[in-house]
């Protein structure tokens, strides 16, 4: 194992009763890479994400996360909030905002969740709390700027458009100061113009913030233009991996997609 692999997934199997959701999955992600996982519906992509973030606990196999401190850490057996503290941020397929809070508050919660605090200090706004709040506010404003939502900082999250919600979720994830950002179908429900903006944003997250990106996406055009490497999942197993060009030419991939939906194959071709 080399130190520049941020994620190493070895022989991971995840079952729900008799249903095998992930079957002996092996994959890895290099630091600073934009990696995509594609596959037909029900292939296990979101299950993989949930396993990587500690929401699901696979029965077999090992998932290793390597932070900047170059100490390998096992994800399995860790609670989701611990995984987040270690430096793994994520967004959700159906975007999950704290919808009654403003956009600003959404991001701020992410920014302050990893700072230590005392209840009494937090309550009485002691010097440490005030310093922390100032920092969190600065981080929040910087990130709102970064994703282009500065103008909408005081808007209730629920009244944002789909595209803006995606951006907000990315900002909230980035606020936790992650090393890798997992994006679960970031372009779902957005229009072509928003898609283009998202692709630019995702690339900027990697280039300007140095955060590795792991991406699930159905929109082939977006994936092929964005990802540097891809894994293809089908029925819980990795059936192919390689660069976009290699994936396009892979017969197993074409068959997997033919088996599910014709127009997705068209997109692939």
């Amino acid at each position: 194992m080399t130190t520049d692999r941020i994620f190493t997934v070895e022989n991971v199997t995840l079952r729900f009763g008799g249903v095998v959701s992930l079957n002996d999955v092996n994959l890895f992600q290099n630091r600073g890479e934009i990696l995509a996982v594609i596959g037909p519906n029900g292939a296990g992509k979101t299950s993989l994400f949930n396993s990587l973030t500690g929401v699901y606990q696979p029965q077999e196999g090992e998932i290793t996360f390597m932070g900047r401190d170059a100490k390998p850490m096992s994800i399995i057996g860790r609670k989701a909030h611990r995984v987040s503290s270690a430096g793994v941020a994520r967004t959700f397929q159906a975007s999950r905002m704290f919808s009654a809070l403003t956009a600003f508050e959404n991001v701020k919660i992410g920014a302050e969740s990893h700072k230590g605090f005392g209840v009494v200090g937090a309550m009485l706004k002691g010097p440490r709390t005030r310093r922390n709040e100032k920092e969190s506010d600065a981080t929040t404003i910087r990130l709102m700027d970064f994703v282009g939502l500065r103008q909408k900082a005081n808007v209730i999250a629920a009244s944002l458009s789909y595209g803006d919600r995606r951006r907000l979720e990315i900002a909230r994830g980035l606020a936790t100061n992650p090393e890798v950002l997992l994006l679960d179908e970031p372009a779902a429900g957005t229009n072509p113009a928003e898609k283009l903006g998202l692709a630019t944003l995702i690339r900027r997250v990697r280039d300007e913030m140095g955060v590795s990106i792991l991406l699930i996406e159905h929109d082939m055009k977006l994936v092929m233009s964005l990802a540097e490497r891809l894994y293809v999942l089908n029925f819980g197993s990795v059936i192919a991996d390689g660069t976009p060009a290699e994936i396009r030419a892979n017969p197993a991939v074409i068959e997997a997609y033919l088996g599910s939906s014709a127009d997705e194959t068209e997109e692939l071709a």
Binding site: K79, I109, G110, N132, A158
Partner: protein, 447 residues
């Protein structure tokens, strides 16, 4: 004919008359085995006064009420969406006047000053003791439950357990239990305050750690169970708690510090001021908490636990914190009850008390400190008034009919409570509009 009945006003009127007929039966005189129909005929035919204006029969009064109800109903149907819509879009607009901070602070100050003078305005001994035992104590309980239910969104049906523990700890440290007091020192009730609050908070953590891993309905059932366990324990363990006979005499509060000597006696007013001071402290502490990062984390967990966890919030930690902090004010309420009534028995800590506290919180507005204070004062005052000077035909057990009806009406017309919290109101608005997730399972690829 059918078309006539289907007209909105007619159908509303008929439904209202039906509902009022049932209401009449519920509030009417009971029947007996010798005259089985007395309950029925009496419910409708008994003499009554028309809202104190002139003498008539019960059915006339209820018919009038039915007309009013159907009128309101029809109005609500035609204008309701406008009213509700106004509520929901109001969120994005600037705060309404009563939501501005100076207005709120001023409101609290005015309420506080009024509360300061209240015992001198109302000198009836019944009301003076009600102010402490039934109003101030319930304000404390509602404030505490509001942290758990309103801020953190945890449905706790056994909140009375913390109240009971606070009271019994007071009895314990003052040496009023069959169990010997800790280290054999009989403290006076005043020093029981910090000890009871600390122990109740520890109790909250101990109950919280295993139960708060559950969500929603499961948590409600388990807390219900814990509430019952505490009451039954107190009832059955004669050797420890004195059982159903209750404790021995608990000494009154007293202070003996250097030159300050003060003893709280039998009169309720000194207790009133002691409790009022703590109510103010708890209001300040809880509202500071609400607006700190702890409050934000609670909101995040309440809205979407999975998302909160994904950004590094430990839900269990914050939930346990909510339990312990909410328990603190209930614990203090227990100390006051124990200190003032000099005597504690398990019958004061039954399930209906838990439900009553929850009703106060829901009525006042979950998550809104101003709301639960006003709601608790209002409901407790009305129910104590009804108990003290019941109108003709009112039996004390009828209280829950009216309370239930008030809650139902509240849920229809002001679902976020009397004085709603901004965040809660948005959540309810969005849930009605079908947005936001109440408690949906982690979605996979399923469309």
């Amino acid at each position: 004919m059918k078309a006539f009945v289907k007209r909105p006003f007619v159908s509303h009127l008929l439904t209202s008359i039906g509902a009022m007929a049932i209401f009449e039966l519920m509030t009417g005189p009971p029947g007996s085995s010798t005259t089985p129909t007395a309950g029925f005929t009496g419910s409708f035919g008994e003499r009554a006064s028309f809202f104190g204006l002139f003498a008539t029969y019960r059915f006339v009064v209820f018919l009038a009420l039915a007309v009013i109800v159907s009128g309101v109903w029809t109005l609500w149907q035609s204008r309701g969406s406008v009213i509700k819509h106004g509520v929901n879009t109001g969120l994005a607009r600037p705060r309404a006047a009563w939501q501005l901070k100076p207005v709120r602070t001023g409101f609290f100050l005015a309420l506080f000053i009024f509360a300061l003078f209240l015992p001198h305005l109302e000198t009836d001994p019944y009301w003076q003791s009600v102010m402490v035992e039934e109003i101030a104590v319930y304000v404390l309980l509602a404030l505490g439950l509001n942290v758990v239910v309103g801020f953190a969104g945890l449905l706790d049906l056994g909140f009375v357990a913390f109240y009971a523990v606070g009271a019994y700890v007071t009895a314990w440290v003052t040496g009023a239990l069959p169990t010997p007091a800790p280290f054999g020192i009989h403290l006076n009730a005043f020093f029981a305050i910090p000890i009871a609050i600390a122990l109740v908070m520890i109790f909250g953590v101990l109950i919280g750690l295993p139960t708060l891993r559950l969500r929603g309905d499961y948590l409600a059932i388990v807390t219900l169970g814990f509430g019952e366990i505490v009451t039954i324990f107190a009832n059955n363990q004669y050797g420890i708690t004195g059982g159903s006979e209750g404790t021995n005499a608990i000494p009154h509060f007293s202070i003996h510090l250097w030159f300050i000597h003060y003893v709280w006696g039998l009169a309720p007013v000194p207790y009133y001021y002691l409790t009022l001071a703590f109510v103010v402290v708890f209001i300040i502490v809880f509202s500071l908490l609400e607006h700190s990062r702890v409050g934000r984390a609670w909101t995040a967990i309440r809205e979407d636990e999975v998302a909160a966890e994904s950004i590094g919030i430990n839900p269990l930690k914050y939930k346990v914190m909510a339990f312990a902090i909410g328990a603190a004010s209930a614990g203090f309420a227990g100390v006051v009850t124990a200190g003032q009534t000099i005597f504690v028995n398990p019958q004061s800590f039954t399930l209906p008390v838990s439900i009553n506290i929850l009703a106060l919180v829901i009525f006042g507005g979950m998550g809104s400190i101003a709301g639960v204070v006003v709601g608790a004062v209002l409901i407790q005052t009305v129910s104590m008034y009804l108990l003290h000077s019941p109108p003709a035909g009112y039996q004390s057990s009828d209280l829950y009919i009216y309370l239930g009806a008030a809650l139902v009406l509240m849920m229809i017309f002001r679902p976020a409570g009397l004085i709603p919290s901004r965040r809660r109101r948005r959540e309810i608005g969005m849930a009605e509009a079908g947005e936001g997730h109440m408690d949906e399972v982690l979605t996979g690829d399923t469309p």
